[in-house]
Symmetry: C2
Subunit: 565 residues, 2 copies
């Protein structure tokens, strides 16, 4: 049998995985990785934690779990894979089946032949059209070089104030990293919210948490100019004219796929600018595969193509490409549900499946949403808070997506919901799910199940609710409903919304109905800390003849606006 | 409309939930809870943590998240539910639709009429036929009274040595609670393993962890006698003649359903001794429902009836019963996948779906298992260990169950797998699942997905493996294979199996093939710390002509036997 020649362009997540998988399946193949950077197999999602000082050993980002750095020698010895670093693939000659490479140190050009080629070039920072990006003190956080730069800057004492441009995953993680180094941080986001993967309310709760940790978050503001003195960054100017003196700016305005040398070789590029692949991770050339941040993949819920530059997907896609290259097309990557999570100080925040705005955009015919706030486990075990927003297809009861933020175990919640979304489970399926319960881990009725219960009640017309955003809008419009807070006096002494609400503890409500509006058609909005008592309050009012009663979803804990503390 | 009379017998998890749900759906019903104990809505799964001193406020076990004790006054005021505590339901007159009750303080008998009755009597300790159970110092850990007793005993300085009888969930949790009070603990289990919900190897790993925390675990040993002096426990005698002096014994030998007054009223009782109910939680009498530890329910995978006395299921079943009583049969409890989790010192341990022994017992025609050990997240984030055992139906690729133990995030793993099992997902489905990934929470390829990958490789015949138990048996039989440890010298200096293994680091293997058996048919078992390098080692040997090469599943981390540290 002829020895197969496999060339992989890119040696980070997708590329290294594809090469390793191909090797496991074909011990005789000649496998070559062409890697532009000096490093291989970088744990790039770990960069912010190195910058922030969670660990100090740079090699941990490049090493196996037992501490061996994955350098070319490692790839050669343990995997019999030739890894050419600081080498750029400048062109692909599809007819000759060879790639043209350039040694970035010597400048020398050479050619490598392939039978199968896997393109894993990853992503690059989206360039933003502002002056000053070349200044010393301005960086991205995408490469090992960026990371080294930021690590040095953050651990020196020279940076007092940093500005992070872009409130996506990397921007938010960069904020935490810099704050934990004692640096004053301003986060600038041009959209009206950070973490645009979330709906506004959920993102606002995260923003509030960041502010409580000292981050100066400015949304709806554009970066205008980076200004320097003697070639060094000295300040940034925002679209509203604000000038923020700073020594460091992190540009985290997103990534876009690197499509060279694919585009130059005439491979199909998708509408979103990523390399087009089928479910086998095969490009428009049957001998060429692609995986990772440089490709487009399918959103499993909408069926639409998306860019999903995530480290886990890069690994999974790389594995599929590696297997198909070695064995012929036999395994598939069926798509993404666009699951994401990030740590934001003491909060976790993430999403799986569709948000409300995505459901709207994807023209889902009929959908319903609900917000649920609850502890993640019993109070006596030291509970954290979870706030979830679930989106379902109200035509067929299917769970389309869920967002979750808070100080509780967000990771388990999102894993649970990611599986529900992937499996096409309905609200009814989830309502009696058998999840692992013990007090150290969850409530007897897990938060995810409780969310399904509330959604079920809403779909059945029992839980008539109003969102915090609608409530706020009504207040702004000068047309507030009658607000009824069902908590006890000790609770509202500590924390209250201060929106003109009436206080009647649930336990006294049946004897105090005369304190409510006489007009049984008056709009009454009930709530409590998390709105379970708010729900019971509303049911009592309805049973007593009030006809326009609503529960404010998620109660005080999910209220994203100012409140009286 | 006539006011409906709803009577609920039992006011703990299922009963309180059923009553509350019925109230939310029917504001005019007359709802009565008949509760034998003095307390209501006890968080019984939290008992061990109160005993162990995780928290000191007894009321936390009885209170709402905001700290209000759920006593009869609470039920009356907030839910308009009449809760009669210290009241026993002694009989049900189905024709007259009334229950006969006895006030346990006054002895007075009275009758309560019902239109719908919900039976939630819970479970009671299985009695064990040994002398001495009446001694002072001998207790269960099932009721608030037991808990108060144990809390007093454990926080007094009078108990030096305690014996826990039974290594199930409660027994194991009791051990941790008592150890954290500074008490020397012996755990006695008559089966050959603790936590019989797990397969032997997984349970043994937990046992080893308990021993490392100072618990004297004795499996395969029966309790013979409880011996006292002056009415107080002074020692226990085991089946092997061992006498253990102790001041405290906790009997945790399991629970059985309380079926009175159901059985006396002629309601159908299942083969396992629980009240028989349909998917609506309705008994053989259409006006009577039952929920919680007193019923039998369906194992969704085997279709068999099981007893599943779990707090979460009690709540879910109670909710279903409450809704169906109020609204007519409209929602179902579709069954259990027998998910369970417990904290065991620094370990989590649990299961969802079928274990290997259950698959065998349930006569699953063809199944396959695999053990996977890996960190839960990157080492630089402070990883914990996860060891999973997955069981699949090898005819259709469906995941039947998964066990997980270790110091890592076992809770998320089991939640993920519980959803996979419930949804009937296949190994292939899980292999490209889109789970929440960020370094603080997981590896880029989540442990659950990696387990699916290994299982996939096994099903495809690529991963030829042998279990640690088989290896051990072969050593005991005096017929060991050739063992090859593929780790580096620094690693085996720290920890090794010491079973006569040869050490050749993976990176040197291709140059040291002459150190392996010349007989290419010789049986060679490869491993490493977790057996990823073991797998790569095996592939290299196969490519070089050895024909009988196996990987030891889970490597050194999943090895449950003695090792050289």
């Amino acid at each position: 049998m002829k020895t197969m020649k496999i060339v992989v362009v890119g040696g980070s997540a997708a590329g290294a995985k594809a090469a390793a998988k191909a090797r496991r399946l074909d011990q005789s193949a000649q496998i070559t990785i062409i890697q532009k950077d000096p490093d291989l197999s970088m744990a790039s999602c770990g960069y912010p934690y190195y910058v922030g000082g969670t660990f100090d050993n740079r090699n941990a980002l490049l090493a196996t779990p037992t501490g061996v750095v994955r350098d070319p020698g490692f790839f050669q010895k343990t995997k019999d894979i030739k890894a050419l670093v600081q080498t750029e693939c400048v062109a692909v000659n599809r007819e000759a089946r060879q790639v043209e490479c350039r040694d970035l140190q010597s400048g020398e050009k050479f050619f490598v032949e392939y039978d199968k080629l896997i393109l894993c070039m990853g992503g690059k920072p989206k360039r933003i059209p502002v002056p000053g990006t070349e200044l010393e003190g301005v960086t991205h956080l995408l490469s090992m070089a960026d990371t080294d730069y930021l690590h040095r800057a953050a651990s020196s004492k020279e940076v007092q104030h940093a500005v992070v441009i872009g409130g996506g995953l990397i921007g938010v993680e960069a904020c935490e990293a810099l704050v934990s180094r004692g640096i004053k941080v301003t986060l600038v986001e041009m959209e009206s919210q950070i973490l645009t993967m979330l709906d506004w309310q959920m993102a606002k709760l995260v923003e509030n948490h960041m502010k409580s940790k000292g981050v100066d978050v400015r949304v709806g503001t554009r970066l205008e100019t980076l200004t320097g003195e003697g070639g060094r960054l000295s300040s940034v100017t925002l679209g509203d004219g604000t000038v923020i003196p700073c020594e460091l700016a992190v540009l985290a305005t997103g990534v876009e796929p690197i499509t060279e040398p694919a585009a130059g070789a005439g491979l199909a590029i998708g509408e979103l600018g990523g390399i087009a692949v089928n479910e086998y991770m095969q490009t428009s050339d049957e001998h060429i595969y692609a995986a990772g941040d440089c490709v487009e993949c399918v959103n499993m819920i909408t069926g639409n193509k998306v860019l999903a530059p995530m480290g886990d997907l890069a690994n999974l896609q790389g594995r599929v490409a590696g297997e198909n290259v070695a064995m012929g097309n036999s395994v598939t990557f069926s798509g993404t549900t666009q699951t994401a999570i990030c740590k934001v100080f003491d909060f976790g925040a993430g999403v799986t499946g569709l948000t409300e705005k995505q459901a709207k955009k994807a023209s889902v015919a009929a959908y319903e949403t609900v917000v649920n706030a609850s502890p993640d486990k019993p109070g006596f075990m030291g509970a954290g808070l979870l706030i979830s927003k679930m989106v379902v297809n109200s035509d067929n009861d299917k769970i389309l997506g869920c967002q979750c933020v808070g100080s509780g175990d967000v990771s388990r919640q999102l894993a649970t919901m990611a599986m529900a979304v992937r499996a096409g489970m309905t609200v009814t399926d989830l309502a009696t799910a058998d999840l692992p319960y013990a007090p150290p881990y969850s409530l007897a009725i897990d938060h995810s199940i409780a969310t399904a219960h509330i959604m079920g009640n809403k779909l059945k017309g029992r839980f008539k609710s109003i969102s915090a955003e609608e409530v706020w809008q009504r207040i702004q419009d000068g047309n507030p409903p009658f607000f009824l807070d069902g908590r006890g006096p000790d609770e509202y002494e500590v924390l209250r919304l201060g929106i003109g609400e009436k206080y009647i503890p649930l336990g006294m409500l049946r004897n105090k109905l005369d304190e409510l509006p006489r007009d049984k058609g008056a709009e009454i909005v009930c709530f409590c800390k998390i709105s379970l008592r708010g729900y019971e309050t509303a049911l009592i009012l309805e049973a007593n003849g009030w006809t326009n009663v609503k529960v404010m979803e998620g109660g005080i804990m999910a209220w994203p606006f100012a409140r009286e503390a």
